[in-house]
């Protein structure tokens, strides 16, 4: 059990560090836009979703209507529907007292550690997932707090190019998983379509690119599976 706790923490550590620029930005941007320290920290504690928080801070500062803010939050968060669906068969037989905390910390980062066929199925693996998920939660809130305290004293770290850190960690998570043509096609379609859709300013770029890539991967899988038989 202790090993699972430690392994969850260590596996998540590079990702905890990679989001330092964003966590700090979340804190300082909110303060600069007139949020109180309490509200800023509450946002990271309760919402716990980096991209949704950053966008919402800008919108709230611009006096955007509440419904627009909530709808934008839903669009940015809609990729989590996919994560829930994808791990449903692994988690669903666990009691609610495990499923609730797991779903609370089911971020992009934790989902990246969910591919093992036995993930979430045993007490040890649930402990591992919660340790990874909550260490990311604590880190995110710590970086937010630093952003609150630093306020305008620190430069915008994301503009220093430190946003590359998240790209590097995601590369490390994705590339070793490319084991056949289907996963290669998935990755290529995801990258190309996300870049094209995002640069053209399409709001639903992330979910659309993901669904396109998943379809491409699925059909490649079906085709290559047929050829083998």
């Amino acid at each position: 059990m202790r090993k699972a706790l430690l392994k969850g923490f260590l596996d998540m550590l590079p990702l905890c560090l990679a989001v330092i620029p964003w966590g700090i930005l979340c804190g300082s941007l909110a303060i600069q836009n007139g949020f109180s320290a309490f509200e800023t920290q509450a946002m990271s504690l309760l919402v716990f979703a980096g991209s949704a928080q950053l966008v919402a801070i800008e919108l709230m500062a611009g006096n955007t209507p509440l419904l627009t803010i909530l709808f934008t939050t839903l669009i940015i968060s809609s990729r989590h529907f996919l994560y829930g669906l994808a791990i449903r068969h692994k988690v669903i037989n666990q009691p609610l007292r495990w499923r609730l905390p797991i779903s609370f910390v089911l971020t992009d980062e934790l989902f990246a550690f969910s591919h093992h066929p036995k993930a979430y199925r045993t007490k040890i693996r649930l402990t591992y997932a919660l340790s990874a998920g909550f260490s990311f939660y604590i880190a995110w809130n710590l970086w937010t707090l630093i952003g609150i305290i630093a306020g305008t004293m620190l430069p915008d770290l994301t503009h220093l190019g430190l946003d590359f850190a998240i790209a590097a960690t995601f590369i490390a998570l994705v590339i070793p998983g490319i084991k056949n043509l289907a996963s290669l096609i998935t990755v290529i379609v995801a990258g190309v379509s996300a870049t094209l859709l995002k640069s053209s300013g399409f709001e639903l770029w992330l979910v659309c690119a993901a669904l396109l890539a998943m379809s491409a991967g699925y059909f490649t899988f079906r085709l290559t599976a047929k050829e083998e038989h």
Binding site: P14, E39, A42, M43, L46, V47, F48, A56, M60, L66, I69, L70, T73, S77, R79, H80, L82, G84, L85, A86, R88, H89, V91, I92, L96, R99, S103, D108, H115, G161, F164, I166, A167, A168, T169, F170, I171, A172, V174, I175, P176, G177, A182, T186, V187, A190, G191, V192, A194, T195, K198, S199, W205, A209, A210, A213, M214, S215, Y218, F221
Partner: protein, 99 residues
Amino acid sequence: MMTTILLMACITFFTRYLFLHKALPFKVGPKMQQFLSFSAPAVLTAIWVPIVFINEEGVNLNLSNPYLSAAVLAIIVAYKTHNIYYTTLFGMGLFLLLN
């Protein structure tokens, strides 16, 4: 402001919890499961590739783009070592050197 934050929290939690709720009026079949097995590489790649290629001016395919050359190195290291620490270290190292 707190109301907005609380409502946002409800929405993000809803998107994370919905399909982990026990009673749902449908079952995920094997074909759907296969389709969903591609969600992790799809979403993660859809997040990192635009970070590499898109800057304030738009899409940048030039090799002098430090994001691009550092990403290429990170991909090679990830492929060879399967190690997240080496990948991040070498990728960030080259990136900071070039930037």
